[in-house]
Symmetry: D2
Subunit: 261 residues, 4 copies
């Protein structure tokens, strides 16, 4: 691992501006709270960006220098520009890690990565949640014993319309009787993806030490593990076939031509 891993915390930062209660809970914004949690890991270099920054703070230059992107969105999913969604997706496929938090299950980027509706059930009752590690030795669960509790939470429940995860790291138990796959991993291209359910804007969940520990673990886990993969769809010239090859039959494309997209 490089001496420094660059994490970028993105937040739509809408509730914090409009709702005084959210502003009181998260005076530095959810992004500020998450960033404060990450900098406790000295290996991490932490930046933040929000919806209202130029290009949402997600220029190509910024993304090129980001190893792991942490995403929080809820009320303004639709305001994220499609062009920037494509830019982020391309960077994930190259290898940038992506950590989707809480209501980001419905963000444009996460839905594009999953290929499903990403719907779930929910209830805002301030009930107790207990987050169980399905594999206590998974790197994302490091430092969590067998489970941890969140005293007041928004319930996210099954059915959760996702493709089968590569690994389920956490499953949540709720006081009201529901369950949820609250920590799941996937890989898309070379990007490692982690979805983590805890984190409602109306409760101080991102101040919970166990939640913070998981966030730090997840950034380390999602770090790119290799060189970048530059996506192309190249035509291989006949003369460069690995076995000697003679052209046969008709052709639609000229040699050197690009394919359709």
């Amino acid at each position: 691992m490089a001496a420094s891993l660059r994490a970028l915390v993105w937040n739509e930062n809408v509730h914090e501006r409009k709702n005084p209660m959210v502003a009181r809970i998260y005076p530095k914004g959810i992004h500020g709270c998450v960033a404060d949690a990450l900098v406790l890991d000295k290996q991490l270099e932490v930046h933040a960006a929000t919806l209202h920054d130029p290009d949402h703070g997600l220029t190509k230059a910024v993304l090129d220098e980001t190893d792991v992107l942490i995403w929080w969105g809820h009320a303004a999913h639709g305001e994220v520009k499609d062009e920037i969604v494509e830019r982020v997706l391309a960077r994930i496929w190259q290898g940038m890690g992506f950590v989707a938090l809480h209501s980001s299950h419905y963000s444009k980027i996460f839905k594009r990565l999953m290929g499903t509706s990403c719907s779930l059930t929910w209830r805002e009752a301030g009930e107790r949640e207990r987050v169980w590690a399905c594999n206590p030795a998974h790197p994302i669960a490091t430092g969590i014993d067998r489970c941890f509790e969140i005293e007041n939470t928004e319930m996210y429940g099954e059915p959760f319309a996702i493709p089968t995860p590569d690994e389920i790291v956490f499953i949540s138990w709720y006081e009201g009787g529901d369950v949820f796959r609250s920590g799941c991993t996937w890989k898309r291209g070379n990007g490692k993806i982690f979805y983590f359910a805890p984190g409602h804007e109306m409760y101080p969940i991102y101040f919970n030490p166990s939640v913070q520990r998981v966030l730090r673990n997840a950034v380390r886990w999602a770090a790119p593990d290799s060189e970048r993969w530059i996506d192309r769809c190249p035509q291989i010239p006949i003369s460069e076939a690995r076995e000697p090859l003679q052209h046969k039959g008709p052709r639609l494309h000229e040699g050197g031509e690009q394919g359709f997209r």
Copy 2:
């Protein structure tokens, strides 16, 4: 299985109109050739639609009565309306099967289902392809012994930028020295998805009896296996929690409110 399984063959039908050689090879269009292959299975009720039909022939009523959609696109991926892409995706998540053929790896729908770039390498040299069954007892390989050959093909080669398939049914060997995962399955929501690489417009590949057999197998395999899943993201009222629950703490959402999308 119902006595009748309804298959809809969709084709952009562009090359057939513009390129006389394609028109000679596929006088009824690629969709016509594929439909002729499918009707040999008496269990199948087969329809066809093209890009130029109203709503591309993919109205909600049509999709509601379709069990499996077979898709062929190449030159006109960009002309498929986004609104119809969403409509097809929603129906796939409900359980409609989806069979993506050849250059449809770059169709909007397939890319949305995969969540990756779906890029590959390619070469149009008319070389020989041998399609191997990785599991000769897979229902999609029924009737194929260990492999079959296509005398003249367009090469599609690795790396193929897809998420790990649920199952790899076929891998292709090419005369020019390349390989490709040419038959792969996934599930998204309740929709079963099969990608099948053979099928260039410049060669009469859809007349190949083994290719036709695979197409019929794939439609049967992709049939919905249960009731429809209507996607929602419901708020569960506190009074309907399965365990007795008292509301605690602040709320962002009123009871009965819809969540953000």
Copy 3:
């Protein structure tokens, strides 16, 4: 699907013989209760076998005529003969479905199929369990709305040491605060495998109508979907290579020889 699907319910039948309370709850044995649940599906032809039958009731002839094997074991895992374990595994790889119930997570066959330790946590307190469908439209969840309850159950909890399931059909919530992946699918060779956690011998759980519905669904789901795959590891003679091939260099094996095992 054939007009008739042949299910074989296997039970070690030890607790029923030794423990009067179990005998009172399951007077026909657990196998008898499960078989009674299955015969309500008129498509099923149902048989039963136990540890004490000759060859444990699992002769090659019996297995050859079995489409889906349902397994219940607990106190006598070690008494199941290794030779019969191998026979069952070979038949599963050919395509026979396998439904492992409750404490069968530790059966020889299930551990061999998984390749992991299959350990879990447990508590015998008669607490309430609520079984949630992660995908209410999955064929194994047909007829289950969103969840069902078991009033008195043995808790099986995470971490459950299994490989990532192909699909998680059910997750259980427990009164005592735990969660468990209680309905999971895998495929090994051509055999479809379903693990279903409910079913302690000290509670009448197999009389629960929802549990019985899941059992019937699971047998239908696990039905073989194609011809049998006869496992071999054949040497391909050089003269039968698909491309013309001349022998080069030294050989360890003579033509026609079998490989090492």
Copy 4:
């Protein structure tokens, strides 16, 4: 990553003793050749062991100090003691990496990890093999461009009876017209597993620089990523339930009792 990663190369070392041609090709044994390839990575501390060492060189103490075990077997799979197979499996589940080479597809350990028959087709003709990277940015493919060639190889062909790999890193093309999933990954417990097909004893394949590069990459990739997971199947006392719980109904097990195995 720790400053030093401990790799143990295990070889049955039978052909080298019995067959003069193998002995000439691998004068230090296959294990010696592979070990020489690994020590080129200065991060690796490399040891070797063979079938004929006491306990096959796989005592508990040795395994406890091994991070990644590389395995080569062919003629003597049956001579590996079951007790040692269990010991190795338990260590893999704790997190030790396992790299299975060539004919080790039929080793007891690999078959136990997979849960399938692991059969394949084969031909010993000295033909050419071209190994394609399905994802050139995968850490196991680092330093391999798009493919590499082996001039004389034993063909291993599909169908390969394995469970769906987590990732397919390599697919091989053969001169004789076959294909094979020649580089595959899985996870069992916390152990990362890589199967790599190249490596017949009658050809100097382990001297090939690209093969050696893959071996070094694989050891790094398979390194344990977290603390050890000690497998247990604990009874959770009712008094330690996370939610207050009263015992209800009958019990089979006394508090503190171990479950059946």
